[in-house]
Symmetry: C2
Subunit: 130 residues, 2 copies
């Protein structure tokens, strides 16, 4: 379900967090849907249960999932978007880094905007075909 690159410098639990978010936005995971248990997911991905648990805990902190003791972990019915200043700056810094690197690849303004436009459509496209 989620691609993990163990050679990446991005921590595995972060890759899980990002992967779940991406799957939701693409409509591969729907609100209310149950995620595999910590133990099952760990077996599926041949990881340690604690690594998966760390990812689930972060997802819950971000209100992306809801965990219920003894029942499981579920995709939140409602997204709880954070729009505070810290979050805005976080997103801004991510895009700034992307823009800088894109400039260094020789991309001009229009090429960057097209690049982002294509990516956005790629991610929300599947969502619309529900």
């Amino acid at each position: 379900m989620i691609d993990i690159d163990v050679t990446s410098s991005t921590p595995i639990y972060t890759q899980i967090v990002d992967g779940v978010k991406e799957a939701i936005l693409k409509g591969l995971l729907e609100p209310g849907e149950k995620l595999p248990s910590v133990r099952d997911m760990a077996k599926l991905m041949t990881l340690n249960p604690n690594t998966v648990q760390k990812a689930y805990q972060q997802l819950e902190r971000e209100k992306v999932v809801v965990t219920v003791r003894g029942r499981g972990t579920f995709i939140s019915e409602e997204y709880k978007p954070r729009k505070d200043e810290d979050k805005m700056n976080e997103v801004k810094e991510i895009f700034k880094k992307g823009i800088i690197e894109a400039f260094y690849m020789g991309f001009d303004k229009q090429k960057i905007l097209n690049f982002v436009k294509n990516l956005v459509e790629e991610m929300e496209g599947l969502n619309k075909n529900d």
Copy 2:
């Protein structure tokens, strides 16, 4: 010259690398210009010289600067854009992460594109006023 956030989870040397790249794109640093020596920069930013050196070494690996023994470190006269598949994927992943987080803030496609457009103009705007 470069803002360092010691509380950030982004390594300090990475912040220096990004900051130098950003300053170049904004025209605050020009090709051929000399950067402060490892020791001076370390004093300026109250960091260890080795931390600064690590940043300079990475900048040199990326062809952003040229170092000359006994003379100093200089902004490259010509950028050497990397456009290989690995670099493309790296940039793609950065933007994807930004898009996912933006969606979770409630941004729609158009709002994301405007956000990026403004950032791009903010970064290349200064460059054009040379």
